[in-house]
Amino acid sequence: MKAVCWMGKREVEVQEVDDPTILSPGDAIVRITSTAICGSDLHLYDGYMPTMEKGDILGHEFMGEVVEVGPGVKRLKVGDRVVVPFTISCGGCSHCQRQQWSLCDNTNPNAWMAEKLLGYSAAGLFGYSHLTGGYAGGQAQYARVPYADHGPIVIEDDTIPDEQLLFLSDIFPTGYMAAENCDIKPGETIVAVWGCGPVGQFAIRSALLLGAAKVYAIDSVPERLAMAEAAGTIAIHDDEDVLEKLRELTGGRGPDAAIDAVGMEAHGSSYDNLKQALKLETDRPYALRQSMRAVRKGGVLSVPGVYGGFLDKIPFGAAFNKGVTFRMGQTHVQRYMPQLLSLVESGKIDPSFVITHRVPLTRAAEIYEVFTEKRDGCIKVVLDPAA
């Protein structure tokens, strides 16, 4: 089969690799019909996540048809149309039982590695470095889906196109969880969202669905701000004094909740660019710093943006003295899939609004470059594995 392989910093290749096979009783093999590139894939592409190995298959947003199941699989069957969550979860540990699917104890074969860095290992993830298990990803024609009874959601309605369903695998639940973490009171809560990439876009729309009184969207890319405005937000360009602007717009209180949908590769701080280039810092937390200072006293800071390691010059005093609540982590995708699927089925949201580029899988190398450089109005890329 064809698969998008990571071959080094800023180097991906579409290669012919072996088709996946069942390796454990709970595995399923999925023939992929649609797959996407996530903003967080760019952290891998740009070489900021450690423990990538040449030849790793990328991709954690995919859907398709079940073509084979292992002897231990009871729920899924061959022929099922499924969306696969990016979090690999066992269903049996206490975290899975508490719906903390991304914190599963049992699915990372390299847990020892993660324990060294993090203290305890979180769940295995598709296509996201060996620190999170080294599982082959879904930017390919087929994928092995382990613990298949505890992840994929079966789509009964054949009339809904892939494009409306695909983002249930990651960015829709991720944006939704970020908004849910903001404790939104309908008609009252004011939310500010840093980063209008795909996760930011879904956080914005989820905050509005949950009844946020106002949503402010902060970014520096005009087409992303325009997409945020189309949802009904008030856009703030990053080259303004964001703190002052938010203060002015919120009657001097600051937003009740702040969402950092940017993560470890924020733009705007030459200090961080230099430190990261010199390997003195693993992450560039510009958006995080700004949101920590901007959020209201007693407010919530919700962080769906991915961070990998050690952050520098964090204004912790701002968070402490204002009594800020932090909520963060990889998304518990399985927890949100059913309810978000019904929002799609009932037409309350059409997640395909975010797609700007549809290209064949074979053109992955060039489109990765376009996406990371935010050229050509690129916000979200969907790859067609069959083309």
Partner: protein, 204 residues
Amino acid sequence: MSLSTPPPDRATATSEPVFRSKIAVPGNRGIKIVRSCTIRKPAAELYRFWRSFENLVAIIKHPVSIARISDTESHWRVSAPGDHFVEWHAVVINDEPDELIAWRSREGADVENAGTVRFEAAPGDEGTEVTVQLEYNPPGGRFAALMAKLTGDEPAQQVAEALRRFKALMEAGEIPTIEGQSAGGPQRTARRKEREQLQRKAAS
């Protein structure tokens, strides 16, 4: 870990629970390992698995064969660096159903060792806290033990990994793996070999 767990580096028999004094290897000069994990299963189920020592082959990542000799005795054969292996006879010296198993190697062991596994209820619905204590006299002494640590085949890591695999097997019914999965570039051949090995193993 419960507060009653004895610290790993103290061996004063008088202040420790009774079983602890029983497991000490002769002369108390061994290396000691303590590791624990919490498994969301009843103690009885975990005890039952562990009490048939031959089951442990599934959770020990390092190549090992364990043969049952009697209800209380088993023969262990563990591969060692350079096509060698070490062997011993293990005998159960303390057995409290659903609570504790203690064992010790018999005289003539290539590696003198002794251990216990304890099963204690965890708070709330967390399940069972499983604590393994292991003591051993490394062949070649502490220097060899240090070398083993450097080459990554150190028993403390093996115990940690075995407990992790035990937990996965009990809670999820399988041990996570990527051996034999699809990969591109330089990994491709190695992964294919892993897959062929798995298929041979499954066929035999």
